[in-house]
């Protein structure tokens, strides 16, 4: 089912190779030389495919799968059909991802530096980089080794990128210090001046935006997401952070390590998020707040106050999630007697 126009047809792998890659032993009763050709979801998988079960919504698909091999947790193993081999693991989806990446390693077109790009003479580009057509690398930019700069990207004056960064097409980056292994999807805008002005009866007076954007290692940034540079301090994205598409991050925001911001989240200026915060889709967070470590924020919530470590909040204005459920129930009761 995986289209070889986009992803190179993989070499088959034996059960032994797969198990070795996952660091598990081949169950005794299975033939370690059995070959598999690809990965597929339960409903689409055939005898040659590896699949996985990790969401109770798809239990029926598990029961009827034709997959040759399926990764499951111990509890689900009883539902795997007899014709499907079964590997029991703690985190089936993580392991499925590992197998998928073994079949389909991410590959970069080693086309080198395009004659159709523009690289300023003072810019430094490391070894083994791809600079694609119509990309612009401005003065004093530093691109380290093994980076991919997609077509029509613009890297503005003085910006630096670490090793193994991947910028998909049409990315703009400026006033930024970017770590290693950072992946930026198409159309992301990083480092433009923030929304900073003084407003009074005379109109708006613009405040110079003199900060930067600092991005840690292994960060992913979504398509058409916008991250403004700091005004006088920096905007900081901690290492391992995952940011989805169309997210807005205002000036001076700090996002702690490994936090996850789902699509269309907006964070107003100078707010600090702790580590491992999860903000679901379309969440809005007001400015100058402090959101603790491990906080979880339900989709579409609006945060107007600080949140302590490990709290889960929901609603607009956001309240503890238990209270939000109660509000929802109270509202539904309230209208029962109403005509």
């Amino acid at each position: 089912m995986i289209d070889s126009r986009f992803f190179k047809k993989p070499t088959p792998l034996s059960l032994e190779q797969i198990c070795h890659h996952l660091g598990i032993v081949v169950p005794n009763e299975y033939d370690k030389n059995k070959q598999f050709e690809s990965v597929a979801v339960l409903a689409a998988a055939g005898a040659q495919d590896v699949s996985c079960y990790n969401n109770a919504k798809y239990l029926e698909e598990l029961k009827h799968t034709k997959a040759g091999l399926c990764l499951v947790t111990a509890e689900a193993a009883a539902h795997v059909p007899e014709s499907t081999l079964c590997l029991i693991v703690d985190h089936p989806y993580r392991f499925f991802g590992k197998i998928a990446a073994l079949f389909y390693p991410s590959s970069v077109n080693h086309q080198g530096i395009s004659d159709l790009s523009f690289i300023h003479p003072t810019a430094k580009v490391g070894r083994n980089c791809v600079i694609s057509a119509f990309a612009v690398i401005e003065a004093d930019v530093v691109v380290a080794d093994d980076c991919f700069i997609g077509p029509n990207c613009v890297i503005q004056k003085g910006t630096s990128l670490g090793n193994n960064c991947h910028l998909d097409a049409h990315v703009t980056v400026g006033c930024a210090i970017i770590g290693n292994h950072v992946y930026i999807k198409p159309g992301a805008r990083i480092g433009q001046p923030g929304f900073g002005f003084h407003m009074d009866e005379k109109g708006h007076f613009d405040i110079p935006q003199l900060g930067r954007v600092i991005i840690g290692d292994h960060v992913h940034i979504g398509a058409n997401t916008t991250i403004d540079r700091g005004s006088f301090a920096d905007t900081v994205i901690g290492k391992g952070v995952r940011i989805d598409n169309l997210v807005q991050i205002a000036h001076n925001v700090e996002v702690g390590d490994n936090s996850v911001l789902v699509a269309q989240v907006g964070i107003a200026g100078s707010t600090k998020l702790g580590k491992f915060v999860i903000a679901a889709g379309q969440v809005g967070i007001a400015g100058h707040l402090k959101i603790g470590n491990g906080v979880k924020i339900a989709a579409q919530s609006g945060l107007m106050r600080d949140v302590a470590d490990k709290e889960t909040v929901a609603g607009s204005p956001a309240v503890p999630v238990r209270d939000w459920h109660k509000q929802t129930i109270a509202l539904s009761r309230l209208i029962k007697n109403q005509k």
Copy 2:
């Protein structure tokens, strides 16, 4: 009022030509040779303009219009001023659009293939295409006939476009199979890897995103909208779908034929929408849901459950629209006795 710098001044049309185009007969009492020069809204129209009335908010404008000709429904006809000719039709706005398109046919600058574009030698470009300056057509891409590829577009490896596609400036498309007559507005991002990773205490493990985006015929996609490719399955946009600006469509989502997604809607992964679904502005839809045919979703709603065919829902979390109205009323009553 229509600015000839942007839209070529049209040739005048007679009432007979207009009626013939609409498939209706010229009313007996009217001069079939009367000429009209353009289209305009009620308040701006003069004797030389065709106008239309289709929204009760503009009844006063209808009563005072100076339009030469006006399209109305039978009920509204009594309000048309005496000096304005009047054509009674079932769908005035549809017919008005037809006349506007007759005066101002969409035209493409037949500039051919720009010397400043980059087309990979293995790419195939059909007859009568425009490839604009600084556009990039990567390896193995297929562009069928009569396509317009705007400036600075990037079409990534292996992607195919049907006939008569129009990509405005700065579009990115990859891992996609695109039908005929697809119109993509500037800055849309189609086919980037979705937001797919396994998250546990050790951090995030990225799941390869090995699916595609499949787009049916006659689809329109808005400016800066993002459509991720599938993870293991495909992301599918049915034929005739209309997607507005800044919409987020996650991996594996399916949108049924002729559905309408208004600006800033977000749909999480693996959710399936039926045909003729309407999601108003800023709606959020959670992942792995099934939304029936003909479902209508009020603006800013948040959907967390499946919705049956033809239901109308509103609120966050979304409930049947009648209940949402009741909730709104209940809340307003609740605060009446509160100081």
Copy 3:
């Protein structure tokens, strides 16, 4: 703290120069020749820095600042440490911005017209403009004097720009008449056809979009924001308007002078906003509404009705802010006795 890779190290300024620029007198007890080197926020400032206090959240930082000079209001002056000079002004942040702009004047790289840009022979470009690499200036475009057109921008046929406009990278502008001193951040899309079609059981019939976008002087437009052109009338952005990132403005919308639209706001078609309207983040406004002068709209609100001058509204559906606070309190009381 300000990074000289991005912002040129400034020349030191004396207290006298600073006060002169602000139009205030040097307090008698201070040495008018004392030198300052830069600006910084309270917590980061040293003896060589000018700082400011304008948000009660940062009172502790004020009390412990090491800034050489601090701008404050009269009420806050008592909290300035002894070692810090203190200038009392009505609007500390406005004056701080003025000093920052004095140290760090906005500078444009006077690189002229890039050989790698494309300028149509019929386009007119004024004096002292920068046209960057891979920018496209189409037929009949007029760019007045002292404009900066960033890399990979596309200015479409017939569009005109006033003096001193700044288009950051990757901007698309078409069917637009743009005033003087307009600043457009990267990836903004201006002038594409709006979301206009007639929908009935036969499917969608597209209505030609024959209007323009008119943008007044001194407007700022955020990154990846989208502004559709009018359908038959124009979309109009009044002078001095500030628009943040990822905002959606539909066809025929009018935004009055000096209004402020924060990130991710969406305004549906034909709605008119008065002057000095403030819409906070993620606000949604339905179509065909009239929002008065000086209206303030709380974050995430959803407006479905006209709003009178100077009202403040909140909630979805939006109500007067006092009622919204009452609703929030009523809901929290309602669940107190609920288990």
